[in-house]
């Protein structure tokens, strides 16, 4: 009997998505798709607005990582106002933005790991759905839940101090930043009472990495085998190959680790990347033009970054990075669940970066903004928590936006997420007479590993109810099961 399984909405991710899985008469997976079901039209409706509104308008794509959009837009506008192509700001301007960005990476990674993913690890993929959530975690593992909550809070407070608001701030402006850090803010972040100080954040980040490593040791088969597939990887890297989440050149490697995009200037991204449209999803499918639609797809995000970079420029995270790389003998790591490991290494790196930046006197004084000769077009890229984020704007003589092109992190992961869904559906559902809630959650676990921000992706956000529809070959519905 043919079956169609629908997982809708996908939950504990950020955005609106649904999964459909078609099972044929022999019990094989005939087709599986992750659909992004919302469309908002930012590219068109920002046209005509004054360009300086872009950093505050476009960040409202997404309330999870608004800082990424805020900064990517500001970086594109830096180019337009003649403030260099990402590294031409004043020390204060650049460092305040960096602090804002690392604060957001920290809060976003903490949110994803503690609030969204830890329930799967602590209660099991097929654990009781009634308690398999952050509230269940808070009741059963209160210490861990408090850590997650306070780490997120610390990151949000950093954002507030640099951007003016925790969500949808206004700190970054074309050519720089609009405020300094105050002495009181600096003192509180560096030496505040436990747990809200940066040293505690570093030590809790180490605990989180160790927690995941222990879980990995105890569940090696699951963590290594689940949605494990080779792919290309893409990210920004600093010119010397270091991890740099704020600025760099574009690098991509293939599944064997060979460079296929050689540290290029991202102002020319259109020479390297195009986007495919498929009629069943509002999310586009980007690919490296040289390798075509079929083979040109790649992964972005924490796992991709751990594969593309040469080293991490902070000592504690570098130590963890070496261990991570050694696990696959220096070869690119294609294991989807290792995304969590990579993400926590970045959590630690962000904590270290915040400490380094907070001790920098440039944050508290110095010129805020720089401007030069105006240009009509600019591209801004940043490594958002979920991967490489592209913003591209054009303006006219009246300073109005005439064009906006956005390739958000999750869109870059569209093809990999679809592949992961397909693998897990095949692994868990092939030949099964009864599709259980646990099997359906397994599909979501695969999606969740990518920490997809479907809100960003539809330029919207969301969740998936789970519904199984059993249909005959004429698409008549024979049975329906919801959870």
């Amino acid at each position: 009997m043919k079956q169609k399984i629908t997982i809708e909405p996908v939950t504990r991710v950020e955005g609106h998505g649904k999964v459909t899985i078609h099972i044929d008469e022999e019990g094989n997976i005939a087709q599986s798709r992750l659909h992004i079901v919302e469309f908002r039209g930012f590219e068109r409706f920002v046209q005509g607005r004054p360009y300086w509104e872009a950093p505050v308008l476009v960040q409202r794509l997404c309330g999870i990582c608004p800082v990424s959009h805020h900064l990517a837009a500001a970086k594109a506008l830096d180019v337009i106002v003649g403030a260099g192509t990402g590294d031409g700001l004043t020390p204060t301007g650049e460092k305040m933005r960096r602090l804002m960005h690392y604060g957001q990476i920290f809060q976003s990674h903490a949110l994803h790991f503690f609030h969204l993913v830890s329930p799967d690890l602590l209660f099991g993929v097929d654990g009781d759905p009634a308690i398999r959530n952050i509230i269940g975690v808070a009741k059963k593992f209160p210490d861990l839940a408090v850590q997650g909550v306070m780490m997120r809070k610390f990151g949000q407070e950093i954002i507030k101090a640099t951007a003016g608001k925790k969500i949808h701030g206004t700190g970054a402006i074309p050519g720089g930043i609009n405020k300094h850090l105050t002495q009181a803010e600096k003192d509180s972040f560096l030496n505040g009472p436990d747990p809200l100080n940066v040293d505690k954040m570093i030590s809790w980040s180490i605990d989180a990495v160790n927690f995941l490593k222990k879980y990995h040791k105890d569940n090696t088969e699951f963590i290594d085998g689940f949605a494990n597939f080779p792919s290309s990887h893409l990210s920004l890297v600093r010119k010397d190959g270091a991890l740099d989440l704020y600025h760099g050149v574009l690098r991509a490697i293939d599944k064997d680790g060979k460079k296929i995009l050689h540290d290029v200037d991202y102002q020319d991204y259109l020479s390297y990347i195009n986007e495919e449209v498929r009629d069943w999803s509002y999310m586009k499918f980007p690919f490296l033009t040289e390798y075509g639609k079929k083979d040109g797809w790649y992964r972005v995000g924490p796992l991709a970054r751990m594969n593309t970079i040469d080293f991490i420029p902070t000592p504690l995270a570098q130590k963890e990075f070496e261990e991570f790389r050694a696990y696959t003998h220096g070869k690119p790591n294609g294991m989807s669940m290792h995304m969590h490991w990579a993400r926590l290494i970045e959590l630690l790196h962000s904590a270290e970066m915040m400490k380094e930046l907070l001790n920098d006197p440039d944050l508290m004084s110095g010129e805020l903004v720089i401007k030069g000769e105006k240009k009509s077009e600019g591209v801004g890229l940043i490594e958002a928590p979920r991967g490489t984020l592209f913003h591209h704007y054009g303006i006219n003589d009246n300073d109005q936006l005439t064009m906006a092109n956005l390739i958000v992190s999750t869109t870059n992961n569209n093809e990999p997420m679809n592949i992961a869904v397909n693998m897990v559906a095949k692994q868990y559902m092939t030949g099964q007479k009864k599709i259980t809630e646990g099997m359906m959650n397994a599909v979501e676990v695969a999606i969740r590993a990518y920490d997809p921000c479907l809100s960003c992706a539809t330029h919207a956000i969301g969740q998936m109810p789970l519904e199984v529809v059993i249909v005959d070959s004429r698409n008549n519905i024979l049975d329906r099961k919801r959870r």
Binding site: P9, T11, R12, H16, T20, H35, V37, E38, F39, R40, G41, E43, R44, F45, V46, L57, R60, C62, G63, I64, P66, H115, L116, P129, N133, I134, I135, A138, A145, V146, V149, M150, R152, K165, K166, I167, H168, L270, N274, E275, E276, V277, R278, D279, W280, Y282, K284, P286, T289, K293, M403, S455, H459, I461, G462, Q463, L466, E467, R482, R483
Partner: protein, 183 residues
């Protein structure tokens, strides 16, 4: 006495209002003592399992699925609260309301610089699995009756907290100047 039950959803919003709810930080632990949660994107309850006392709605309605979910919330929640600018007045997504939807789709999928070469066939997303896009983005109260409104983009965590506590305890809602902002 059993605890009041809260459900939440994000329609055509950005999840920022849900994030602002999480910005109540350590009070989350108090909140879960105070209320139980039903259908919400932060848990895996995908369909209502019982009648709820309070439904928090983020986002306006931009497609047929948003309308369906919102009506479902009205049916299953005694009190509905529009949380944030998008639920209250469509918010930023409503900037598309004076532009034909076809122009928005063309810009995103046909005319964008990345799709000129990437989409030579001129495909637009259009599939039975995708909900129908509405002509405009509608605020929630134009679709169902809404009982309360919390302004802000997003509403400050303290506003959401004060409002929830007031609704649950029946005490008067405190609205000092610092917590009511409209951006």
């Amino acid at each position: 006495m059993s605890k009041p039950i809260v459900a939440t959803t994000s329609l055509a919003g950005c999840f920022g209002c849900h994030m602002s709810l999480l910005d109540i930080d350590e009070r989350i632990l108090e909140l879960i003592e105070l209320v139980d949660f039903n259908k919400s994107p932060i848990n895996d309850i995908k369909e209502f399992t019982e009648m709820c006392d309070i439904g928090l709605i983020e986002g306006g309605c931009c497609n047929s699925e948003n309308i369906h979910v919102l009506k479902d919330f009205r049916k299953n929640c005694k009190i509905l609260v529009s949380v944030g600018e998008c639920a209250i007045m469509g918010g930023l997504p409503a900037m598309r309301n004076n532009i034909p939807i076809k122009e928005c789709l063309d810009e995103a999928y046909l005319n964008g610089p990345g799709t000129k070469e990437g989409n030579p066939e001129g495909i637009l997303p259009n599939n039975e699995e995708l909900p129908i896009i509405l002509d405009k983005v509608y605020p929630c109260h134009e679709v169902v009756k809404i009982d309360y409104y919390l302004p802000g983009c997003p509403p400050r965590a303290d506003l959401i907290w004060n409002a929830l506590v007031a609704l649950v305890t029946g005490d008067e809602l405190k609205l000092p100047y610092e917590v009511v902002k409209f951006d």
